[in-house]
Amino acid sequence: MISAIQRGGGQTTGNGCVDLLVHGNVSGTIVIKNNRWRNGADKVHGTFGCGIENSIIVDIYANSVADSLTITNNLCGINAENGPAPDPNGVTTCFGANMTKSGATIDAEYNAVFVAWTIL
């Protein structure tokens, strides 16, 4: 069994984006709980950066052996205030997972997701 528990934000993967990535042949149980994320607009690059466009803050990659994923009591905020309009083809989400093992379970409870965009 492995528990992937990330607290207090996660790793920075570039352009100011805060992500937790789980990938590879992770087995057993994956638990994501009690986290607080906030990704904001990327003013330096003049775009939303990875905090908004194409951002999946918790991303469980396609995984052949994990039995279950539990996402509990997380708060995810994506705030694009004072930025340009989002790319209509962009992907912005907080939790992404691809559980490919037969019978794998996903449980998401008591999470809060806030996404915001205000025009310049």
Partner: protein, 158 residues
């Protein structure tokens, strides 16, 4: 989030999306799918979604606030339940609950509350992309909070 043919349970979550426009930043929970084995079991219950209007965005593309869909043709479900969810859709683009593309057995909607404030024709449960059903979807106790009408069948949204 996708599980090939297992169980997915989304419950007691809160989503809020401000300033939605054309494909991003709306507060729905799941567009994840399943495989074609028709064994996946999905439940979305006791979730709350608030889609407020920011006062500047104007009309935008339609945005469902709960999805029973993978966004692609192919996935098949043994059971899919929407129960006791609350949607506050104070945005001209927001709609309601969307079922699209996939194949469903035992699709059930019960006691969902949709408040379509400041929408044109929102507050509905509707189909997109010709989903198929191996038995008749059931509706019980779903209410449009603006009109007070019961939502007892699929309807149309903008």
């Amino acid at each position: 989030m996708t599980t090939a043919n297992g169980t997915k349970t989304l419950t007691h979550n809160y989503g809020e999306g401000l300033g939605y426009r054309s494909g991003a930043l709306h507060g729905e929970f799941d567009q994840g799918g399943a495989d074609g084995s028709c064994r996946a079991v999905v439940s979305q219950s006791y979730n709350t979604v608030l889609q407020p209007h920011d006062g500047n965005s104007g009309a935008a593309a339609a945005a469902a606030l709960l999805y029973g869909s993978s966004g692609a043709v192919g996935p098949c479900y043994a059971n899919y339940t929407f129960a006791n969810n609350t949607l506050i859709v104070n945005n001209p683009a927001a709609t309601g609950i969307e079922v699209s593309y996939n194949t469903y057995t035992n699709l059930a909607f019960s006691n969902n509350y949709i408040a379509p404030v400041y929408t044109v024709n929102g507050g509905c449960i509707y189909e997109v992309g010709n989903p198929s059903f191996t038995n008749s979807p059931t509706f019980y106790g779903n209410i449009n909070m603006l009109t007070g009408n019961t939502i007892a069948k699929f309807g149309s949204c903008p």
